[in-house]
Amino acid sequence: MGFETVVFVVAAVLALAGALGVVLLDNPFYSVLSLVGHLIALAVLFLLLQAAFVAAAQVVVYAGAVMVLYVFVVAYVGGGERTLVSESDTIGRLGPLFAGVLLVELTLAVAGSGLAASAGDGAPVARGFGSPAAIGELLLGQFLIVFETASFLLLVAAVGAVVLARRRRGLEEDDLDGDRAGPELAPASPQERAPRPGSAAPEPERSTRTGGERAGQASEAGARTAEARTGGAGPASARVGGESPATGSA
């Protein structure tokens, strides 16, 4: 049908544009955003394929949660390298070549080898095909074990993330700072909050052992003087600053 073709072409173009944007854009933030666009285009394509639930899940879970997480991390970590490909980068030269070869192969495989099933519109489907009810039936019926295993996998990933993002000395320092913080948390003034995002970033490194000992100690001293100035609000900000990356990576 005409309408479907138009929708397909538009969604396909958007998806491709998003993909190329991810690969080619300098700023990782822009890459994330173009991936979000790509995901939404993909969701449209899923709708075209009678996969309503998958499309919804794509938008809600993928574009909604995973990409937001990504945004946080990109904000935290920063830009990274500026140049795309340096002059003596052989892999950077060969990479697109190999990818192109792969593309040709796949296209030939799909179009040329005569995949009978992929020609034509596909098998006739019932009305509720791809609906949440149908997916739910499959998940809890035929694919129950898969379902449970997937949830287990999620648990493992969550625990792994916490372990990875944890500070070296565990949570003792957090508690210490938290004890010192006390009730001064509330009356902290906005001006004094201004230097805190700046000091929040280096302060969590206070507890890391590798490399930034001196910087950490300097920031600690800075935090201490800030604490003397703000009277206890410094450690509070330390606690806040210490918590945000943890939550950012969880």
Binding site: I91, G95, A99, L102, E105, L106, L108, S113
Partner: protein
């Protein structure tokens, strides 16, 4: 019991003695080890006598008993058992070896009393006796070579007995190396004989040689010459003689046993045993006879110029063995072996008496410092004179009958052998000369301080030192003990010397021509197959020969008296008039220097080359480090793949996936 079994008993006694002392020396009290060893060898002697009795009980044709303990090698074509051959020749050798050895053991009990290595000494000595008996009793070439090698090893162990003295260890190595040359020659000869005859036992080889070789066959001559090389290395004939004088570094009883009476006679035994081969290749026998005579003359001349008492006697040994070699190589077997027996008696006696004198001199061996021991050491003097008379061939002593009998036989052979016999008489004159040079220089003349001290009954203490180089030593293990024992004071020494002196006097009784032919008849069964068994010179010829020998001996003794005692200044003047001759003789005809230049230095250089070039550069550099270098290069090439670059890994992944896809794409078409 048949003689074969007694043969094993004869072997068993000294072996048991050696092992017992070797393993149990810690629990043996005091000086028991020495008595144990002496008892073991006396046991062997007793068993040898029983073996003799057993053999005499058999008929003359049956006097060849082979006894095999077990089949040692029995594979394709090779058949050698652990077998001994008991026949008159081996019984004769056993009696001589075990008899003289037991007397020397007795002597050593007193001589080596204060030495810290006493037990080790007797273990070695017993081991030597075992090896020598094994050699003479061997029934095939394999066991002979085993015994040959053991004897060489025992000789090395005993020469370097005082192992902390570097001159002794060097001498031991020299002896061993020269012996090994002989061993190799012997083994090659055994190969040649086995290759031709297919047999290793004596009987098989002899009969096989009859069939395989014609008279004077090239291979047979080669094999016989190699046997001669082996014999000469062991018996210290030219040019493989240089080890024997240096071997005097060992204790005097060792010199008496090994280098006078037994080991050096192994070569003569070998030639006598292999006589069918030599008779089939007379050329080789002639070569042996010539070398024997030349050696005899050479050694006699050198003995005139030596100043070390033991070395004079050593060169005398070389010379006398030349006689024995001449005897057996001119096919006068009984005469040659007769001389072997009498030589064992009087040479061992001479060494023992020399040991007594050297002890009196506190280990000084130079005759220039000796003199006038006649009155302070009467017993030693008497035995030494008896030995010297026997050596010189004074009429009616044992040496007279044996040595001059050899010369009579040789003269009778005619041709070139007659010339050699004349040389032999010249040698006899020289022998008498140097023998009594020793007597007159050491025992007669004015007494030296040590002699005077001895007559007063005291034995002065001397700081232990190397007698040749003067380096200081101590009395701990590895060096001689502190005490010096003189025959007059130690009864075991006196007893042994007395018995030998008696034998040296009466030993000739077994071979008086025309009167007793005990030895000849006894040895007949062994040599029955010889062509020359009938060619005995007439009694008259033999008595004439003996007479000439006796006259030569007396003239020699008289000349020695004049030169060395009454008109000694003549000798001194002679020495000054002919300095080059004197030096030539004193340097032993420069044989040592010749070997140093021709053999030792090139080999040392070759070894140096091997070490620097072949070992370090070729083997180490090319093979070892080259191989590891190749492996290292290859693996560092392979290591380059693991660069640590994530993107490189991703590239490989992608390329691999692409290749896989391509394969499936093509396969599905």
């Amino acid at each position: 019991m048949n003689p074969g079994a007694w043969g094993w008993v004869v072997l068993g006694f000294p072996l048991a003695g050696s092992l017992l002392i070797a393993f149990g020396w810690r629990v043996l009290p005091g000086r028991l080890a020495g008595w144990l060893a002496t008892g073991a060898v006396l046991g062997a002697f007793g068993a040898a006598i029983t073996m003799l009795a057993g053999l005499l009980g058999l008929g003359a044709e049956e006097r060849e008993v082979t006894s095999t303990a077990f089949a040692y090698l029995s594979t394709a074509g090779l058949d050698a058992g652990l077998s001994i051959l008991v026949d008159p020749l081996s019984v004769f050798m056993c009696l001589v070896v075990s008899g003289v050895s037991s007397l020397i053991h007795l002597y050593s009990v007193a001589y080596m009393t204060s030495d810290r290595g006493y037990d080790r000494y007797f273990s070695y000595l017993n081991f030597f006796v075992f090896s020598m008996l094994l050699l003479v009793l061997a029934g095939n070439l394999v066991l002979l070579i085993v015994g040959w090698a053991f004897v060489g090893a025992a000789s090395y162990l005993l020469i370097s007995f005082w192992y902390r003295r570097h001159t002794a260890t060097e001498a031991g190595i020299k002896a061993f190396v020269i012996n090994v040359i002989g061993d190799v020659a012997l083994v090659i000869a055994a190969f040649l004989l086995f290759n031709a005859t297919g047999a290793l036992d004596w009987a098989g080889v002899f009969t096989g040689a009859q069939d395989a070789f014609v008279r004077d066959d090239g291979t047979l001559i080669a094999a016989c010459l190699l046997l001669l090389v082996g014999a000469f290395a062991k018996s210290a004939q030219l040019p493989l003689h240089t080890w024997l004088p240096d071997a005097m570094e060992g204790p005097t009883p060792v010199s008496a046993l090994i280098h006078a009476a037994t080991m050096v006679t192994a070569g003569v035994y070998l030639i006598a045993r292999a006589h069918p081969l030599f008779e089939q290749a007379p050329t080789a026998a002639l070569v042996g006879a010539v070398i024997g005579t030349v050696t005899m003359l050479f050694a006699a001349t050198v003995a005139l110029a030596q100043t070390d008492l033991k070395r004079i006697i050593a060169y005398s040994t070389i010379s006398q063995i030349g006689y024995m070699v001449l005897g057996v190589c001119s096919f006068a077997y009984a005469a040659g072996l007769f001389h072997l027996m009498t030589h064992a008696f009087f040479k061992a006696l001479l060494f023992m008496a020399a040991g007594s004198v050297i002890a009196a001199m506190s280990d000084v061996k130079s005759i220039d410092r000796m003199g006038g021991f006649r009155h302070s050491m009467p017993f030693t003097h008497a035995t030494f004179v008896i030995g010297a008379l026997a050596l010189a061939g004074f009429p009616l002593m044992s040496g007279f009958f044996s040595k001059d009998d050899v010369l009579a036989f040789t003269f009778d052979r005619g041709g070139i052998y007659a010339v050699l016999a004349v040389g032999g008489y010249i040698g006899a004159a020289l022998t008498a000369l140097y023998a009594f040079r020793m007597v007159f220089r050491v025992f007669w003349g004015d007494p030296v301080p040590e002699a005077l001290a001895l007559s007063r009954g005291e034995h002065p203490h001397v700081e232990p030192a190397n007698p040749d180089t003067g380096e200081p030593e101590d009395n701990d293990v590895g060096f001689p003990g502190p005490e010096h024992h003189v025959a007059e004071q130690a009864w075991p020494m006196a007893l042994a010397m007395g018995v030998l002196a008696a034998l040296a006097v009466v030993g000739g009784a077994v071979g008086i021509p025309g009167v007793t032919a005990t030895l000849e008849h006894f040895l007949e069964p062994t040599f029955a197959d010889s062509r020359f068994v009938e060619e005995i010179p007439s009694d008259t010829a033999r008595w004439i020969g003996l007479g000439i020998g006796g006259v030569v001996a007396i003239v020699g003794i008289g000349l020695a008296y004049r030169l060395y005692l009454s008109r000694y200044e003549l000798t001194v003047e002679l020495r000054e008039r002919l300095p080059r001759v004197t030096t030539f003789l004193e340097r032993k005809w420069y044989f040592d220097e010749l070997f140093e230049l021709a053999v030792v230095r090139p080999l040392a250089r070759l070894g140096e080359l091997g070490r620097t070039v072949i070992e370090s550069e070729l083997v180490q550099g090319v093979f070892v480090e080259g191989t590891s270098g190749i492996v290292r290069a290859g693996s560092s090439l392979a290591r380059g793949v693991q660069s640590g670059y994530l993107r490189a890994y991703a590239l490989f992944l992608l390329a691999g996936a692409g290749a896989l896809g391509l394969y499936f794409l093509i396969a599905s078409v």
